[in-house]
Symmetry: C4
Subunit: 275 residues, 4 copies
C-alpha cells in the first residue's frame, strides 16, 4: 500500500490557468437530501463549492432549497420531483455525486438508476451514503458504472461487497475492485483507497472527526477534485488526504470537528499546496 | 454538598479512542420546538452537536426544519406529526431529550407519554422545559422513568414537586429525588444537582447568562455528555459545570451572553479538559 | 439642550444583580414585519436580544419566522394572524415595540390599535416606522398612549406633527411633546430627544450609518433598554447614544455600517460601560 | 484603452456628506432569482448592500425570500408574481438591475420588457446574466434603453452582438457600443469597458475568482455605485476595478474566492479609497 502524503497534494492541486472561467473548473451535480437528511447534501454542496468546483447544482427535495441557499447562495437548486429539469441538468454535468442524505425510498432508487443509466462517456460518478446501500439492494438490476468512485464506510461496504468487517482484507477488497472495475474509498479509522492498479492508505484522520456529516463533506470534496484535476486517481487520493489533513489541524484545538468547519478551510489549504 | 470543579471535567471528558466512528459517540434524539418556540430546540441541537454527540436527530414541527438546517446541517430532522418515523427514531436512540420549546398542547403531551412509555433499558432520558410542566400536570398518569434527568428551574420545580420556592430546601429536594428515583438539576443562581447518593452545587454562572435559551443549550449539552461518557453522574455534573464555565469566560467581555455563543465554544473547552 | 455623553451610559447600564433570571431583564414583544419588510423586524429582534432583553417574542407574518430563527433562535415567534395568541403575548409584555416593517395595511392598523388599547399601566410602548405613519393617518381615532416613545425620522415626524421640516424647531417639537405627553426621538443627522422636562441632543452618528435598517436596530435597542433599566429617560437616551457610539467605531473602518453589525457589538460595548 | 487604476477609486468613491440619510444613497431595485437560480439574486443583493446602496429591494420568486432574509435582513422583498407591487417598486427606483438568476421563461421575459418600457428619464438600468440572453432573443421587439449598462461574458456578448468570440475585437465592440448607445462591461480574463467615448481595460482579476456567482456580485456592486456616485462612467469603472482588487487580495490566501466573501470586504475597501 502506498501511504498518502503532502507530496500528492502538490502534484494534484494545479495552479489555475490565468485564462479560465467558471466552466473551466467543472460542472458538478449533487443528488441527495430527502425530507429527513437534507443537511447531508447541504454539507456536500458547501464542500464542493469551497473545493473549487466551477458550477454546482444540487438536485434535492424542495424543502431543502431554502436552508441550502441561506448557507451557500453560490449553488443552484433543482426540485428532485421535476423529471425534465433533472434530466437536463444530469446531461450537462462533468461529475455527479449521488447519495448524501438520499434515503432508501422508491424515488431515491429511481434517481440512482437514472444517474447510472444516463452516464455519458465523459462523466464521472461518485456514489456515496444511501446510494451505496440502494445499489447493494439492487445489485442484479444495476450494472456497475465505469468512471465511478464508491465511498462506503465499513457497514456500507459489507452491504455492497457481502464481506463481513473481518473479511474486508486488502486482498478481498482488491479482488472486488478488479471484478467490478470501480474505484473504492473504504472509510474507517485509516481509510484505504483501491484503484485499478494501486492501493493507498491514508495515515491521517482523528476521532474528533467522528461526527455526522463528515462523509458528506468528503464526498463533496472528491467530486470537486475530480471536476478540476486531470489525473483522476491523484485527484481522488488528494481529496481524501486533504480532508483528514484539515481535520487533524482543527482537531488540535477542538474536541469535535464539525464538517462545515472543514469546508470553510479548504480554499486556504488548497492554496498552500497549489503548484 | 460537593462543589463542582475543574477536576470533574478532567475525569469526565475522556480522550476519544483512536478507533471509533460516529456511532461510538451516541445517537441522540431531541424532541421539542412547536410553532412558537422552534428556536429552543434549534439551540439544544447546536449544543448537542458541538458537545460531541455522534448523531443528532431532531423531532420537531415541520416549520422549524429549514431554520434548523440553515444553522446546523449536521442534524437530521423528523416532522413530529409522522408517528411511524417518530417511533422508528425513538427506538434507535441512546439518549433522548424532550422539552425545549415543546409547548403544552395535546400533541406535545402525547409525545412525552410516548417517550416515557417506549423507554428501553439502555436509554437515558432528559426531561426539560415544557415537558416538566406537562409531567407535573399529568403526575398520576405518567410513571417516573428510570435513568432520567429532570432539569427544572425554580418555578418548574414547584410545579413538579409541589414545593414553593422557600420550601425547596436541600432536604426536601433530596427526599423527592429518593422517592422518585430521578436525577435532578435544579437551575438557579447557583444550580444544584441531586443524584441517588450525592448532592452537588455549581459555584459558577453569572447574570449575563440570564437570557432566553440558556436552559435549552444546557439541556443539549447534558444530552450529548450522557451519550458519550460512561459515568453518567459525572457526565451530568460536567455538562452543568462546563456550561457555566464557558458562560463566565464569555461574560467577562459581554454584558449579555447568547446561548448560541456558548455552543460555539464547547469544542474548544472540551479539548482543554480531555484526559 | 443637554448633550448626550459617555457619562450617561455609565449611569444607565447597571451591573446585573447576581441573583437574577431571564424574567428580571424583561419580557419584550416586537410587532412588525409584513410580507415585504420582514427584514426590519428581524433586525429589531437581533438588536433587542443583543441589548440584553431577557425574553423576546416577535409577532410577525408567518413567512418571516424561518429567516428569523435561522439568524436568531433566541427569540420566540407568533403568527400575527392568530388573534388569541397575539392577545396572550401582548398581555404579558413589559415593553412593546410596534412598527418596524409593519406596513400600512388594514391588518397592521388593527394591530396598532390593539396594542394601544390594550396597554396596561406597567407597560411601555415604542412606536416606530410604519406605526408612526399609521398613527398619523388615524390621529383622531387613536388616543395618545402614556409611557410611550415615538421614534420618527423627519418625514414621519412631519406626518405625525403636521410640521414641515423647516418648522421642526426645538420649540415646536417641545410644544407637541408637552401637548401629547409623549417621549420623542427625532432621528436625523443629529438626533434629538424630547421628554417631559428635558431636551437632549446626540453628538454622535455618521453617514456610514445612513442605510436601510438602521432605525429598526435602534428601535430594538431602545425597547431592550426600557425593559432592563429603571430610569426610563436615561435608558432611552443611553440606547440612542450607544447606537451611534458603536456606529462611529465601526464607521472608522467601513464605508457603510450594516445594522446587523451594530447588533453584534452591543454586548461588548454595554460591558465596557456597566457600573 | 485606458487601464483602470487605484486613482479611479479615489476619484469615484466620495466621502459621504455629513447631512445625509438612506435616501441620499439611492433606491436600488434588483430583479432576478427564479426557482433554480435564487442564489444569484441573493448574491447581488449582498453586494449592493455592502457597496453602500441606501435602500435595496429585491423582486424575486417567493421561495427566495426566506433565504435572502436569513442572510441579509437589510433588503426588502417583493414576490415577482404580484404586478401591482412590482410596478410600484419599479417606479420609485433610482437604479435597476435585472438578470441575475432571472432565467429565460415567459414571466422573466415579461419582467424585462416591463423594466425597459417603464424606464424613467432619471433611472439607470443594469442588464446582466439571463436578461442579456433574453434581450438577444427578442432583439427586434425590445428597443435599446438609454442610461444602460450591459454586463455580458463572452458567450452572452456573442448572443447579443452576433460576434463570435474571435470577432469580439475592440473595434467591433466599440462600433456596437456606438450603434446601440449602451455602456458595455465585457467580462473575461481581462474585462473591458466600452462607454460613449472611452474604452477601459481592467488589469486585475485572477482565476480563483472563476466560480459561480462572481458576476452576480459584480452586478450588485455596479448597481450600488451607480446609485451613489454622480459620475456614472467613473462609478461603473470603479465597481469593476474594486471587485477585482478585492478578489486579488483574497486570492492570495485562497485557491478559490467565494463571491459572498468579496461582498463582506467591500465596506472596508471603499473606506480605504474614499476621498
Amino acid at each position: 500500500m502506498i501511504e498518502l502524503s503532502n507530496e500528492l497534494l502538490h502534484t494534484s492541486i494545479r495552479k489555475r490557468p490565468d485564462e479560465s472561467h467558471k466552466g473551466t473548473f467543472g460542472r458538478v451535480v449533487l443528488i441527495g437530501g430527502n425530507e429527513t437528511y437534507g443537511g447531508a447534501i447541504i454539507m456536500s454542496a458547501e464542500a464542493a463549492v469551497n473545493a473549487g468546483a466551477g458550477l454546482v447544482t444540487v438536485i434535492t427535495a424542495e424543502k431543502n432549497h431554502a436552508p441550502l441557499h441561506a448557507r451557500i447562495p453560490e449553488v443552484m437548486v433543482i426540485d428532485w420531483t421535476r423529471p425534465q429539469e433533472v434530466r437536463s441538468v444530469l446531461k450537462d454535468a462533468d461529475v455527479l455525486l449521488i447519495g448524501p442524505g438520499l434515503g432508501l425510498g422508491a424515488h431515491s432508487r429511481s434517481l440512482l438508476q437514472q444517474v447510472i443509466e444516463s452516464q455519458q462517456a465523459n462523466q464521472w460518478l461518485v456514489i456515496d451514503g444511501s446510494a451505496i446501500t440502494l445499489f447493494a439492494q439492487h445489485h442484479y438490476e444495476l450494472a456497475f458504472p465505469s468512471q465511478v468512485v464508491f465511498t462506503p464506510h465499513q457497514m456500507e461496504w459489507q452491504r455492497l461487497s457481502g464481506l463481513t468487517i473481518p473479511e474486508q482484507t486488502q486482498q478481498n477488497n482488491q479482488r472486488l475492485q478488479k471484478k467490478w472495475g470501480t474505484n473504492l474509498v473504504l472509510k474507517s479509522h485509516r481509510t484505504t483507497i483501491f484503484t485499478a492498479n494501486k492501493q493507498f492508505i491514508n495515515p491521517l484522520g482523528n476521532p474528533a472527526m467522528a461526527t455526522g456529516g463528515m462523509g458528506d463533506t468528503l464526498a463533496g470534496m472528491i467530486t470537486a477534485f475530480l471536476a478540476q484535476f486531470e489525473e483522476k486517481e491523484a485527484a481522488l487520493c488528494a481529496a481524501v488526504y486533504l480532508h483528514s489533513l484539515i481535520g487533524d489541524a482543527l482537531g488540535k484545538e477542538r474536541y469535535v470537528v464539525l464538517p462545515t468547519e472543514i469546508s470553510q478551510k479548504i480554499p486556504y489549504y488548497m492554496k498552500q499546496f497549489e503548484q
